[in-house]
Structures are given as structure tokens and as C-alpha cells.
Symmetry: C2
Subunit: 458 residues, 2 copies
């Protein structure tokens, strides 16, 4: 595995290969002050404590623990510097950052995916994230001609086309309008696209990392269309256009536009990040990311689809008979186990919390089932709340690993009753050249060594 | 107003005083290419368009708009550099940051509040935030002896006291246990404390900024207590202790501990930030922030409260008769309008989206009412979803400012039926020296100039 493959952060399931993580992530014998003899003693304590614990709490093989009367007091009483000294003052960092011990958790470009990095993808490190909110600094990126930090005082949004009153808004004007806040996932239509052709990308960062989830704040597009007096009889589509060099344009049905589409400036409590379209982007819940036009500068109302470059030449699904599916915009129900996932290594046998994400562009997640034997038997996972419309849902399930090979899968069911398909079911209908809209069940194989691999199960 | 008073970011309601904001935030005539004559023309277009708009959309005096056939085309067709060139590549910033135009939105220390900045507070800039999620980089800080970036591989948590099996956990061991993710607010017990004594702090950052809201991930404290086999008959309280120099200790009722208390490592999708207790903190939903012990290293089960320094000498409420309320931990139902708020300036008359936050340590927010005349008349605000237990709730309400002085207030009602009190109601019971647990209605006075001030309404 190349060093470019993103390792998970400290403390997750893994035992890091020696050459894989920076020194900060490795347990240093000289640091914890334990020699090998002492370690041997502790290991025995762990084993007996774990057995007692399992009996008491009903969690078989759960976390090992030491006797508090031996190593515990030892660890507590030898006070480290941070327990004795004066730390950093408040506002030492007026805008805070992650711990220096978490620097390995980054968004990463897939090398060679595109010829120019300004028209490429950086993937979100799902293997190291918790809950449903994606930290804005780790949100995946997909640029068509690079990103800019646009001066908001200069930015304008025009609403035109089949409207009575064409309008141009400044940011100040937009932000005075009635606003709403909503949590939604955003997924690139090409997420997991390599799997169509049986390319088993090693980690969940690269298989599913064109996925993020944020709380967005903005004005409903329907409010702007109402203000401009759009033609309700003729106006069947809108065109959204970005202000960056790509001049990205996408057609959106008027039904969507009037439903839950937002013209958003806020993301996770603050203004959008430059990489995500600062100061203004379209939020099109449930629809593939390319339609969430960044640096939004123009909304045009029309009476037919525009068939722009990014909907005629790209973002079309090539079917087995050579025909393209066009405007196949909705991200269907999908899920993936993020921990454990490809590239991680199980520490040892015993209890694990298996965790993952589920989502659907058509509504809420109703249920997630997990299999540990490649799809023969399924158990229902716990869903964390809130479970929201067109939003990521976090699931967790208990698992005791017996040290034998296992194949882990998750299968989501959404509020419409749609069940996430197997890869072979999708291929039977759509062939192997679609690139876009792969929502198949993902399989992770756990080897006897504890190593986890991306595999395709026939 | 001092320069230390945090101004809101670009694009909010304000017209920035000339000496208040960096150059980036001011409209520059040479930048937008409009001379004064042209500006005059546009102003007239705005006025007529706004009238038409108001008639069409039912939003009186809403955002001004220009005619698309004049200034609109002008603005769109003169392409700025970002519409022509190649931007920054993906992963140019493997961990992203806010726009350079938002640098003014910071957490800020209140000068002189404490003698040492390592034992002080930095306030969250609520006036510039949206929705309910607080960006981790802007989370308020309260340290008792400064913050540290602790090496997680060296950190341990001990569970001891009235338990059958005292245990010590590594981070790896904790993170294998069944985990949950929950969104909760955290508020310092002293938030809005200056208002008890009628000190009208100028901005909402300084009145209410010891408040944040995140998605936390961790293991339930009850899981750990079960594993350790705690004494259900004798064990009535737990003690939580931090590993930093302050050695902060707080007593928590066993009822809370077994209910929704978490031992958390995750915050807003990633590991806790060092300023917020990395790698482990207690999350005690609904209870004042001091009990959310950071750098958590020890949980002890006992049969009576510990009466530690931070619960005997501090974090007690001094009543009019000289008696202290002790263990008054719950943060009662409260709300505040964040936009417009003290220090902001309304651009002009007309339509505004008035926005704020509501929360209760006892449950969910049922309703928020807003008054624009100092409490004589009330209208019910829109609540954004999700509305969650012991979590911030965002509210919005339409307002047309007629240019006359106004006093804005919000009043929250929680799921227990409790109604947020007026300041005089609180003072009648608790006097003026409590410091802690002020949950009174906040009043903002809008002057004819559009300036907004913190005032106390009798």
C-alpha cells in the first residue's frame, strides 16, 4: 500500500505498519516508561481483567483493562507535564485547529486521477470521522477549474429568464431575506465510480470519500423565484451558473427548485469555505454534487433543459447497449462501513464497535443491516439520531471478532422502501461502464492477520 | 465602541464604521468600477425594483435589486479574474480554513476579565454564526490552568471507587466500545453573568458567547460503570477529574451519569480540539460547562457529593439572604437574538430576517416568541429543524423596520412548559450577585441611526 493511502487517525482500530504513520502515532517504549518485562505483566493483567469485565458487562472480549492497584496508580501518579504546569492561554488560536497528533487525517488527492490538480478531486477521510457532521476543513473537493477566495462585496447573483422582474442581488441583500438551516449530505455522482470496473480502491477514503454532510443556511430558491415573479406556466427548468473559470452550468427541474433547494452562504455555522463555493452555492438536496453549483452567480428560468457540457458530455451513465442515461441526478440509497475499512488493521480478537454511514437522495434512512459473512446473515444496526431527510445517518453495531476471515457488508433501506443493491444486481442492469451512480453494497474482507481489504463479492 | 469588540463578519446586517473593519470588508469605489453618478442611478433603480418586488412577493421593503438590463449585465459581463483564470488545485489545503475575508470572525478574550489568560474565557462570535452547529475553531474556551495538546497514546482513564473492578482504559480500548453520537449545547454557568449587576456588555459575543453546540461521539458513562461493576446500592455520585494542571473535579449525580452522560472523544465529526479537552472529555447534557471535565482522566464512584473547590468556593449562586445555591447545575431555558444584536448597525429601513438561538437544559425547545416593542407584543418565530433534546434550536422571524427606535427580545418555552423569565423576575428571587445561571430575556435596542445596543428593560 502506498504512503499516499490515507491512514486512519490515532486510536481507531488499527495497528499501524511501521513505515505508515509519522512517529507521533507510534507507541514509544521510552515514552510510556514501560520495559518489556513490565509490558508482559500488564498483558496478563489485561487478559484476566477483560475476562472479568466480559462476565460482568455482557460485552465479550471488550476493551482490555489493567488492575487499578498496579499499573493504574503507576500511570496516574507519575504526573506528566500537562498535569503540573500552566498551559496555553485562551484565544492563543483565535481560530482553532485540530491536535498536532491528528495531522495525518487529511483530505487527499487520488494521484493520477486527472491530468490537472485544479480539475480534480480530494477525498474526505471517512475512516477517521464520527457522527454525521463533516468538519468543514475535511469536506471533499471537486473543482472543474480550481478554487478561488472571491471577495463577497463584489459578488452578485442574477435571477433572469422567464421572470417578470430580472434581479441582481448583493450578498448583503440576500442575507436579509428569510433564511432556513438544514442538514444534508452532498455526494459526487462519481463516488465509488472505480468499483464499476472492478478496481478495488484500497481505502474508504478513496472508495466513498466524495461524500460530506453539513448544516447549510441560506434562502430558499423558491423565495428568489417568487420575488422575481417567475413564469409558473412556462418555467419548467432552471439553469444554475458558477462564477469560477469553469463557468459550470447545470439544469434543475422546477419541481426540485421549488421544493428544498437553497441558495446558501452558511455551512456548519460559518460562511462557506472557499473550496466549497464561498460566498454562495446552490444546495440541491438528494441530487449529485455537480448540481450544487459553487460561486453561484446566475439563475435562469427556462422552458426546457439546457443540455450543457456537464450534462451532455459528462455526468451521463453509459449503459450496456451504448445508450447514455442523462439527468440521472438522484443519489440513490447507499451505505458503507467506515470502521473497520480497507487499510485498517484490527488490533486483536474480541469486541469491536462497527460503524458506518447511510444516506438516500429520496428521503430518510429507515434501517441498516450489517453482515459479517459476506451477505448470508444480516443483523440490524443501531441508528444514531437525528435521522434526517437527505442527510447522512450514522449506524453502529456490536461485533466480536473470532480471529477468522470475515467479510463485512452494510445494506441500507430508505423511507421509500428501496433496498441498497448488490454490485451484481446493478451490473446486470447497467453494465460496467457507468462511472456514475454506483450505490452498491461495499464489502470489506478482514484477514486472519487483522488486515482489512476492499473486495468484490460475486 | 472599542476595537476589541468583535464586529460581525461581512454581509450581515451591518454598515461597518470606517475605522472598524479591515479594508477587505469595505466597499471600494475603485474596485466595483462605479462612480458616484452611476451609484446615484443604481440607488434609484433599487428603490423602484424593491417596490415592485415587495408587491410581487409580499415581502415589504425586502432586499433591493437592480434592473438586470442595466447594472446587472454590467456586473456580469465585466468578468473578474476568478471567472477567467485557473484557480487553486484540490488539496492545496489538506485541512481547510475560512476565507481570508472572514478573518474578523474570531473567538475573543474579554480584556481584564481574569488576571491570567490561561485561566480565562474566550467568547464565541454568535453574531456571525448560522444554524446550530458551532464551528470547532470558534468554540468558546474556558480554561482553569491553560490548554494542552496531550499525546493520546499516553492518556489513560481510570474508573474506580465503589466498583467491583477498578479499571484503566487506553484511548484505543475506549474507542472499541459501543459508541453513540449526539448533538448538545454546552454553556458556561457564568454565561450572561455580567448582566446580573446591570453591566450592559456591548455585543452578543460577550453577553452570551460562552455557548456552543456540537455533535459529540463517545461511549456512554453508564457502559463504563457497568463494565467496572459499580455498586448500585451505595453509588450515588460520581467524581470526574481532568488531567490538566487545574486538576478540575466535579461531582455528578448518579441519575445523570446513568442517563445521557458521555465519555467523548469526537466533536463535530473529528477528534476533540485541544482547547476542548483532547483526547477525552465528559459530556453532561443540560448541565453547566464546568462539569464537562476536559482531559478526563478519572471517574470515581462515591456515596456523597465531594464538595470540591469548584463546587464549594466557585460555581455557587449567592442569594439575597447571603446563602449560596450549590450544585445548581442545570442550564434553564434561555434564548437570545443574535442578528441584529449589540454592535451591529442596520443598513436601512425595510425587511430583515431576525435570527437567534434557544436552548434548555431540561429538554427540547417548544416555542420561541419575539417582541419588537420591549415585551408588549409577541409573535411566534419559525424554528429550524432538527429540534433536539438539550441542543441549540435556531429560530428566524420576519421583521420590517420602519426606522423608528425598537426594542427586540426573544422568549423561549421548553418542553416542560417553563417560560424564560424577565430579568426583574429573576432578580426578585435571586438578587443581583448570583454571577451564575442568568437565563433572563435579553433586550437589544435599535436606535434611529440603525445602531443596536444592549439595554436592560425594567
Amino acid at each position: 500500500m502506498s504512503r499516499r493511502t490515507a491512514p486512519p487517525p490515532h486510536g481507531r482500530l488499527l495497528k499501524a505498519p511501521e513505515n505508515f504513520l509519522p512517529a507521533d502515532f507510534r507507541l514509544d517504549v521510552t515514552k510510556d516508561g514501560l520495559n518489556d518485562e513490565r509490558r508482559g505483566f500488564l498483558r496478563k493483567s489485561f487478559a484476566s481483567a477483560a475476562a472479568a469485565m466480559a462476565a460482568g458487562a455482557g460485552i465479550t472480549g471488550a476493551a482490555r483493562a489493567q488492575s487499578a492497584t498496579s499499573a493504574g496508580e503507576d500511570a496516574i501518579l507519575k504526573l506528566p507535564p500537562h498535569s503540573k504546569g500552566l498551559g496555553q492561554p485562551v484565544a492563543a488560536r483565535p481560530y482553532g485547529l485540530p491536535s498536532q497528533h491528528e495531522q495525518n487525517l487529511q483530505r487527499r488527492e487520488s494521484p493520477g486521477l486527472t491530468r490537472v490538480s485544479a480539475s480534480s478531486v480530494s477525498f474526505c477521510p471517512l475512516q477517521g470521522l464520527f457522527g454525521i457532521i463533516t468538519p468543514s476543513g475535511l469536506h471533499f473537493e471537486r473543482h472543474h477549474q480550481g478554487w478561488w477566495d472571491i471577495d463577497p462585496s463584489q459578488h452578485r447573483l442574477m435571477v433572469m429568464g422567464l421572470v417578470k422582474r430580472p434581479m441582481v442581488f448583493t450578498m448583503d441583500e440576500l442575507m436579509r431575506l428569510p433564511s432556513v438551516s438544514r442538514m444534508h449530505f452532498i455526494e459526487c455522482g462519481a463516488n465509488s465510480g472505480m468499483e464499476w470496473g472492478n478496481v478495488a480502491v484500497p481505502t474508504v477514503q478513496y472508495t466513498h470519500g466524495m461524500l460530506s454532510c453539513c448544516e447549510y443556511t441560506g434562502v430558499r430558491l423558491s423565495t428568489l423565484l417568487d420575488m422575481a415573479g417567475f413564469d409558473r406556466k412556462q418555467g419548467k427548468y432552471i439553469l444554475a451558473e458558477g462564477a469560477d473559470g469553469a463557468g459550470l452550468t447545470r439544469t434543475i427541474n422546477i419541481e426540485n427548485a421549488l421544493d428544498d433547494v437553497l441558495v446558501a452562504w452558511g455551512m456548519n455555522g460559518e460562511m462557506l469555505r472557499p473550496e466549497n463555493g464561498y460566498p454562495l452555492r446552490l444546495v440541491v438536496p438528494g441530487v449529485q454534487g455537480v448540481s450544487w453549483v459553487k460561486y453561484l452567480r446566475r439563475i435562469e428560468v427556462g422552458d426546457q433543459p439546457w443540455d450543457t457540457r456537464e450534462e451532455a458530455l459528462h455526468y451521463v451513465d453509459l449503459m450496456p447497449d451504448g445508450v447514455h442515461r442523462q439527468y440521472s441526478s438522484i443519489q440513490e440509497c447507499k451505505s458503507v462501513i467506515t470502521t473497520p475499512s480497507g487499510g485498517q488493521v484490527l488490533l486483536d480478537r474480541g469486541f469491536y464497535n462497527v460503524s458506518g454511514l447511510a444516506w438516500s437522495g429520496r428521503g430518510k434512512i429507515r434501517r441498516v443491516d450489517v453482515s459479517f459473512d459476506g451477505g448470508n446473515n444480516w443483523r440490524t444496526a443501531r441508528l444514531e439520531t437525528p435521522v434526517l431527510d437527505k442527510c447522512l445517518t450514522r449506524f453502529n453495531i456490536d461485533w466480536v471478532w473470532d480471529g477468522k476471515p470475515a467479510i463485512l457488508q452494510s445494506r441500507a433501506i430508505d423511507s421509500t422502501g428501496y433496498v441498497q443493491p448488490q454490485m451484481r444486481q446493478l451490473r446486470a442492469v447497467r453494465g460496467t461502464r457507468s462511472i456514475y451512480h454506483n450505490n452498491a453494497i461495499q464489502s470489506w474482507r478482514v484477514a486472519e492477520t487483522g488486515e482489512v481489504f476492499n473486495v468484490q463479492v460475486s
